[in-house]
């Protein structure tokens, strides 16, 4: 009896720290939107906490006009990149967990370490190689880069996910004469949807938010939204209200993904997908 009462008491106060933290997490978004709705004259550091006198969507319209080609560029880069790296990761993870070859135990850490390298140290050779193979300046250069540097994390997630699946599943199929492809396509692929969601969200976010590679590897016409947004900040007067509205537009796709797919992401993690 007392234990249950205790649990009940604790549940009530739990909302106080949670709500306070929630406010802290939302603060930057509040400032962004609040400023995005203001007219230019109302925007200043001193009045950043004041609400706008009138809600105007003009800033968002202007930001959309400026950024929509780049938002589309981002989609053209991010969607193929996330899709290809998900499949590549699932193939690698599958082979490295369920179809191990001699040396697989060396290959896996070798792939994995790539996750940890500081990208600054590979920039110059990267640009050189990209221009050598004739991809520099195109969106495909970025797709390739995100796919390649995504190999470690996507392989890791899929490998851990597949490793947690019982051996008996595929042993039975092998006995029935199923080969490497049949086992993958008939048994493991359908089972790996949660891992796909995690990997897809992860890669989508990473590629969408990338700036470093994008600024180096794309030409003006192919700029994704992060680079275009960065260029909106002029060198003299900056129209902060439009900048903030643009920031919000740039953040919206990943934000929506986290809001609507966030629980699949978490569930995927909880089913062991990201336990490392």
């Amino acid at each position: 009896m007392t234990a249950i009462a205790g649990v009940h008491r604790s549940r009530k106060w739990v909302y106080i720290p949670l709500t306070m933290m929630a406010l802290f997490y939302l603060l930057p978004m509040f400032v962004m939107l609040n400023t995005g709705f203001k007219s230019f004259d109302e925007v200043s550091l001193a009045t950043m906490w004041k609400l706008p006198s009138a809600l105007s969507v003009d800033n968002f319209r202007l930001a959309w006009e400026a950024l929509h080609p780049n938002l589309w560029n981002s989609v053209k880069i991010v969607v193929p990149a996330a899709t290809i790296s998900s499949f590549l990761g699932s193939i690698n993870g599958y082979v490295l967990s369920k179809w191990k070859f001699r040396g697989a135990n060396v290959v896996f850490p070798l792939l994995l370490f790539g996750m940890f390298i500081p990208y600054q140290s590979i920039l110059i050779p990267l640009v050189q190689v990209m221009s050598w193979v004739g991809l520099a300046g195109t969106t495909w250069a970025l797709v390739l880069v995100h796919v390649i540097y995504g190999i470690p994390i996507t392989t890791l997630i899929f490998r851990n996910y597949f490793a947690a699946l019982p051996e008996s599943l595929i042993e039975a199929a092998k006995v029935d004469g199923a080969g490497i492809w049949q086992v993958y396509s008939r048994i493991l692929l359908p089972l790996s949807i949660p891992a796909f969601v995690v990997v897809y969200i992860w890669q989508f976010t990473a590629a969408w938010n990338d700036f470093l590679f994008a600024v180096l590897l794309t030409s003006t016409d192919n700029w994704p939204v992060t680079v275009a947004l960065n260029n909106m900040a002029g060198s003299q007067i900056i129209a902060w209200n439009i900048q903030m509205a643009g920031s919000f537009l740039a953040a919206l796709p990943t934000l929506l993904i986290y809001i609507f797919l966030g629980r699949y992401f978490l569930r995927g993690m909880m089913t062991g997908a990201l336990k490392e």
């Binding site: 205790g6 604790s10 739990v14 720290p17 949670l18 933290m21 929630a22 997490y25 930057p28 400032v31 962004m32 550091l45 001193a46 950043m48 906490w49 590549l88 690698n92 369920k98 179809w99 191990k100 070859f101 001699r102 135990n105 850490p109 792939l111 370490f113 790539g114 390298i117 600054q120 140290s121 590979i122 110059i124 050779p125 990267l126 390649i148 540097y149 190999i151 490793a163 080969g179 490497i180 492809w181 976010t205 938010n209 470093l212 947004l229 960065n230 900040a233 902060w240 900048q243 903030m244 920031s247 953040a251 986290y258 966030g262 629980r263 978490l266 993690m269 909880m270 336990k275 490392e276």
Partner: protein
């Protein structure tokens, strides 16, 4: 699985048919992984080797100069005052960032694990900063952490002032020596939700029976967390430590977005960037890159080794 038993004698045709089939399929496995492996060998290890070569060259200026100078660039770094500041800043940043994320992440996970209503809402909310880059929020954070005092008070300081929390007003990243700690705040904002998710996954993996047993033994809630749950969460903590630790060694865009390039808030990644691209000291920049890589390796390789061993054993 019995991979270890497959022999290396690939050309031997006398092996029994069953073995032969297995060997064939193993080659298929290699083939499937080969594209990824090749890509990583070139784009990660090949490029690292290239950087390593530059780090022992005297290349300065736009013209590549691969004259071998041995460890000169590294020796110079050892006596470089700016690099010393970088090391101290990285240490402070790492401690604040990693501890902040672990404590807040664990705290939030424990609160959410209490079986509250609207758990999904809170979870998504704590996780969403991860979805946004500092290219997008950098300006907002710069406004929030504006260090101006007195009449020009703004950002969080102004909010504190309005709420009567005057004691919390501070100079943020303009604070001497410890300013870098303030820069860790947005980083904690971004990554603590992820840490929470890791811990929450860990907590959900602990059978309720274990807690019940401890309760029956008369342990208080605090003792249960201290003695039962925390030890079980150790692998999660370790994983989080590695992920957060290595990303704090690489911190770059956050600082640029928040405070620009200034020696007071310098870290190795920024020094490398500016010395390479503003000063064209390619040799020195590559040396900093190698030191960074080495620090990351020292942190990560034992962990990878340890966890793969653990996995193999259990």
């Amino acid at each position: 699985m019995t991979t270890a038993e497959t022999d290396i004698d690939v050309q031997g045709g006398e092996a029994p048919p069953k073995h032969k089939r297995f060997r064939m399929e193993n080659w298929w496995g290699v083939l499937w992984v080969l594209p990824s492996l090749l890509a990583v060998m070139i784009f990660v290890y090949g490029f690292i080797a290239w950087t390593a070569r530059v780090s022992v060259s005297k290349w300065k200026g736009l013209d590549p100069d691969y004259t071998f100078v041995g460890g000169e660039n590294f020796v110079n770094l050892a006596s470089d005052r700016r690099f010393h500041i970088d090391v101290v800043n990285t240490a402070i940043f790492t401690v604040v960032f990693v501890l902040g994320c672990l404590l807040i992440g664990l705290g939030l996970a424990i609160l959410l694990d209490k079986g509250i209503r609207a758990e999904g809402f809170y979870r998504s909310l704590f996780l969403f900063p991860m979805a946004i880059s500092f290219i997008v929020t950098g300006v907002v954070w710069r406004w929030l952490m504006n260090p101006a005092q007195g009449e020009r008070l703004s950002g969080l300081n102004l909010l504190f002032d309005n709420l009567g929390l005057d004691f919390m007003i501070n100079s943020w990243h303009a604070t001497p020596t410890w300013g870098i700690a303030a820069v860790a705040l947005p980083a904690v904002w971004q990554m603590s939700g992820y840490t929470m998710a890791l811990y929450l996954a860990g907590l959900r993996g602990i059978p309720e029976a274990l807690r019940e047993a401890a309760r029956v033994d008369g342990a208080s809630e605090f003792q249960i967390y201290r003695r039962v749950i925390m030890p079980l969460l150790w692998p999660v903590t370790l994983a989080a430590l590695i992920i957060l630790g290595h990303s704090s060694l690489k911190v770059f865009d956050l600082i640029i977005a928040l405070a620009g390039k200034q020696v007071a808030l310098d870290v190795p990644a920024i020094y490398m960037w500016t010395t390479t691209f503003d000063g064209f000291f390619f040799g020195r920049g590559a040396a900093i890159g190698m030191v960074l890589l080495f620090s990351v390796a020292v942190l990560v390789i034992p962990y990878l080794w340890y966890s793969l061993r653990q996995e193999a054993e259990g």
